[in-house]
Amino acid sequence: MASKTININLKIWRQKNANSKGSMETYKLDNVSTDSSFLEMLDQLNEQLVNERQEPIAFDHDCREGICGMCSLYINGEAHGPDRAITTCQLHMRKFKDGETIYVEPWRAKAFPVIKDLVVDRSAFDRIQQAGGFVSVNTSGRTMDANAIPIGKAEADKAFEAATCIGCGACVASCVNASAMLFVSAKVSQLALLPQGQVEAHQRVLNMVKQMDEEGFGNCTNTGACAVECPKEISLENIARMNREYFRAMVTAE
């Protein structure tokens, strides 16, 4: 690892709370190790701010290894920053140049209101899952043996790929319409691809789409920006599958 340090300038969105107006503020940070992650760089900035008796910048994070979906950040105009197939917590400072100015903003979408600084409210995603993102099976343990229904490897793998969505919201933040289609279609696809989920597939897609619309997410116009920024490379195929599921459900509902 060729470790070195760089000095950077930061323009970061500060907003006291949901009701106040925010603005971009400028910070200078020296001696950032290129082996640091982007969030470790923000830790370093916060340490500096606290030592200067200023309020640190609030941002969401937890696992710091790309799986919990808690971190967000719009960095230099891209959700999760310039690298591909990663979350912000997996972005490393070696992707930036000495002297560079880095712009950091929260996710911007009507359905994701800002709580403070870079922290937004993504509970709309939870409500969509509560509307139908499950198989209605009780947790008795008295189901059938796990190997009772063989599932073709190809289908199982596709279901798994859809299921790797971490619920981060980058797809919404990257979309000009702030559409949540990629996120919703990932869950709909996962369950529609598995025999266990097929039983209530129609009701599920109708309920989830209804909730998605009520939360104020925009319509999908197939720009594909979501899939480009998605840290888990969730495929646009899922949106196509969800559309098919939705139309089939509409037809049978009538």
Binding site: M1, A2, S3, K16, N17, S33, S36, L39, E40, D43, E47, V50, N51, R53, D60, H61, D62, C63, R64, E65, I67, C68, G69, M70, D83, A85, Q90, H92, I115, D121, R122, S123, D126, Q129, Q130, F134, V135, S136, V137, N138, T139, S140, G141, T143, M144, A146, N147, P150, K153, A156, D157, A159, F160, A163, T164, I166, G167, Q190, Q196, G197
Partner: protein, 670 residues
């Protein structure tokens, strides 16, 4: 000394749980909606408990500090989950899983609990598949398995390197369903800061709304704590940044005994530390030891040359590599249990063979080149190519490795900027899991009536060392298949109690307690950040209460932490306002509890004059550096009673462990 009542039922080990369950009291469906249950935590243990109890018709309130229950730290588990299904027909059984777990825990776990865990393990897999969890499958459509350390069978179910994610999303979907149906009320971005006891029973919690800062009172007939492990007492660990001991510790301060705090699992395969600004360590799943071989150079000169950047690992000839696990433990090889593998890595690095060019020079290789070639050959043959070129073999082998471990390899490359398909991974042990936790009886009830503890937060099933892929199993077993029975039995006594008032003096006292602590931090006006103190605490813990411990170091640690704690309260600075989102305040409240815990861990390690599992006392080892247990004097779970801020006053109680069904023996992986 008091005798802790573990409430282990009578009977043969294989019948205990079945018979016991049949005689537990029930709460009739019409009475359940009148009963409130609080669940703190939405990891595998908490989400499964909340979903199951909600489904039964109880009124459940669930809490987590993240912005969604789906983000609990269980999401990060990589490698897999064990179950005694014997789908691979390699001789597995409930008894073997039970036996492996007791042995893996170095004979320091309770037989009855572990057997129950093995019994319900199969149901977990059935349940998860029914929920749509996409486990890995073979071409025939059936479930695939892999091996984990400390076993000689293939019983680990997995979903690439994201097993925890898939299981948690399964539990989250069950929980979401109950939230949608109105049976569970979810409180995201809430942190439990105290437990409320009324007439000696757990009757509620005090929680802080992390967005508004409001201090809230929540009452219930029973409280379940499933708040995860306390590895972050070391500052650097594989745990998520927010993982903490606070919920469990507050229960401890209110009277729940805390057992075996010194049992910490140091995981052998993590990415080594890179610098002082590092915030956490990243695990490379144990499943990689199925395919990777661990080595360091045989010659010290080679290790030095590698550290100096003059040699590459790929330039070291086969005969100059020391595959030290295969050398020392031929029967289990690279798949020895974690504690054994970690100590062996430390031994090599202490002896000067470490390969990482950082301050500590600590690191060993995890090498996939043999596996790439063998799997590549297999793939070529399977495709009918019986005379493949080396390039073809390597390309096919890499493809196979990618299909098994792709996300882990990608994670490694992003962090280190090195390509593990081409050059071996560098790894080193790091704090990972805590076997200790709140003491619970067979019902998973703590010494406070009505306060149940599940998942990593309790001390229950793993003794002095946990086997890989068994924490996920335990979390779901506790939540889906144990608590619904035992909590109902307890609540059967509460059907006439009626709603618990939040206006009692007990709630007021607990709320004031929390408010006082917060205002102390907000008005402290010290000069140093919370992280400053947390890092110093971590430093003491890692050096003196870490992978190898001795009486002198532990005694020093106790005094050093006491001094650090005093300094912390005098000099910590918490900026901002208490009535808004304030991450620095959240951290300060957690670090305050870590300080007390750290001292207790050192005391516990000091009283345990033996080596067992993850607890290695340098004074107690044999000529080959293996652990020396002392069954005559230490075959007990050490449960500590809180006796005030001065941890030196905490009182040790002992639960003698009885081995009726397994013959206790020296642990041998050779």
């Amino acid at each position: 000394m008091s005798i802790l009542d573990s409430k282990i039922p009578e009977g043969h080990i294989s019948q205990k749980w079945t018979d016991y369950k049949d005689h537990l009291r029930l709460v009739a469906p019409n009475n359940r909606p009148k009963i409130d249950i609080i669940v703190v935590g939405t990891g595998l243990a908490g989400a499964s408990a909340a979903a199951s109890l909600g489904e039964m018709g109880y009124n459940v309130k669930a809490f987590c500090f993240q912005d969604s229950p789906r983000r609990a730290h269980s999401i990060a588990a990589q490698g897999g989950i064990n179950a005694a299904k014997n789908y691979q027909n390699d001789g597995d059984s409930v008894y073997r899983l039970f036996y492996d777990t007791i042995k893996g825990g170095d004979y320091r776990a309770r037989e009855a609990n572990v057997h129950r865990l093995a019994e319900v393990s199969g149901n977990i897999i059935d349940q998860c598949v029914a929920q749509g969890v996409p486990f890995a499958r073979e071409y025939g459509g059936l479930l695939d398995n892999r091996s984990f350390g400390g076993t000689q069978v293939q019983r680990t179910f997995y979903a690439a390197g994201q097993t925890g994610q898939q299981l948690l999303l399964g539990a989250y979907s069950a929980l979401s369903r109950q939230i949608g149906l109105g049976n569970v009320q979810m409180y995201n971005r809430h942190e439990m800061l105290d437990l409320v006891k009324v007439d000696g029973k757990a009757r509620g919690i005090i929680a802080r709304n992390l967005i508004t800062g409001e201090i809230e009172r929540h009452s219930a007939h029973a409280v379940i704590i499933a708040s995860g492990g306390y590895g972050n007492v070391y500052f650097l660990s594989t745990n998520a940044m927010g993982s903490n001991v606070t919920a469990a510790w507050k229960a401890h301060k209110r009277g729940a005994y805390f057992a075996n705090p010194c049992y910490v699992q140091i995981h052998p395969t993590c990415i080594p530390v890179h610098g002082t600004n590092q915030s956490k360590l990243t695990l490379m799943s144990e499943s990689l030891r199925n395919s990777g071989r661990i080595w360091v150079p045989k010659k010290k000169e080679d290790a030095e040359a590698i550290r100096a950047g003059q040699l590459k690992p790929t330039q070291i000839a086969e005969e100059d590599r020391d595959y030290y696990l295969e050398r020392r433990y031929p029967a289990f090889g690279n798949l020895v249990p974690r504690d054994v593998a970690s100590r062996a890595a430390k031994e090599r690095c202490d002896a000067g063979f470490g390969i990482e060019a950082n301050e500590t020079q600590e690191g060993v290789y995890l090498d996939f080149s043999s596996e790439i070639i063998s799997k590549g050959k297999q793939a070529a043959y399977a495709a009918g190519n019986h005379n493949p070129s080396d390039e073809e073999v390597i390309a096919l082998g890499k493809k196979w490795v990618e299909s098994k471990y792709g996300n882990l390899f990608q994670m490694y490359e992003k962090i280190t900027d090195e390509n593990p398909y081409e050059t071996p991974m560098k790894i080193y042990p790091a704090v990972h899991y805590t076997m200790g936790g709140v003491w619970v009886d067979y019902n998973l009830q703590s010494t406070i009536p009505g306060c149940f503890v599940a998942g990593e937060a309790n001390f229950s099933d793993h003794g002095a060392n946990r086997l890989g892929a068994s924490a996920l199993m335990q979390g779901l077993a506790d939540g889906y298949f144990v608590l619904p029975y035992t909590v109902s039995d307890y609540l059967a006594g509460d059907i006439r109690t009626g709603k618990i008032s939040i206006d009692s003096p007990e709630f007021l006292e607990a709320e004031n307690n929390v408010k006082e602590m917060i205002s102390k931090f907000m008005n402290n006006n010290g000069s140093r950040t919370v992280d400053h103190f947390h890092k110093r605490l971590g430093h003491i813990m890692w050096n003196k209460v870490g992978m190898a411990r001795n009486a002198q170091g532990l005694t020093e640690a106790i005094a050093e932490i006491a001094a650090l704690r005093e300094e912390f309260y005098k000099d910590v600075f918490v900026p901002g306002d208490a009535n808004e989102l304030n991450p620095e305040l959240e951290k300060a409240l957690r670090v305050a509890d870590f300080m007390e815990l750290g001292q207790l861990m050192a005391r516990d390690a000091l009283q345990r004059n033996e080596s067992c599992g993850g607890h290695f006392r340098e004074e107690y080892q044999d000529a080959e550096g293996e652990t020396l247990r002392d069954d005559e004097n230490f075959k007990f779970a050490g449960a500590w009673e809180y006796a005030g801020m001065d941890i030196n006053q905490s009182i040790l109680h002992k639960e003698e462990l009885k081995y009726e069904f397994i013959k206790i023996a020296a642990r041998n992986y050779k």
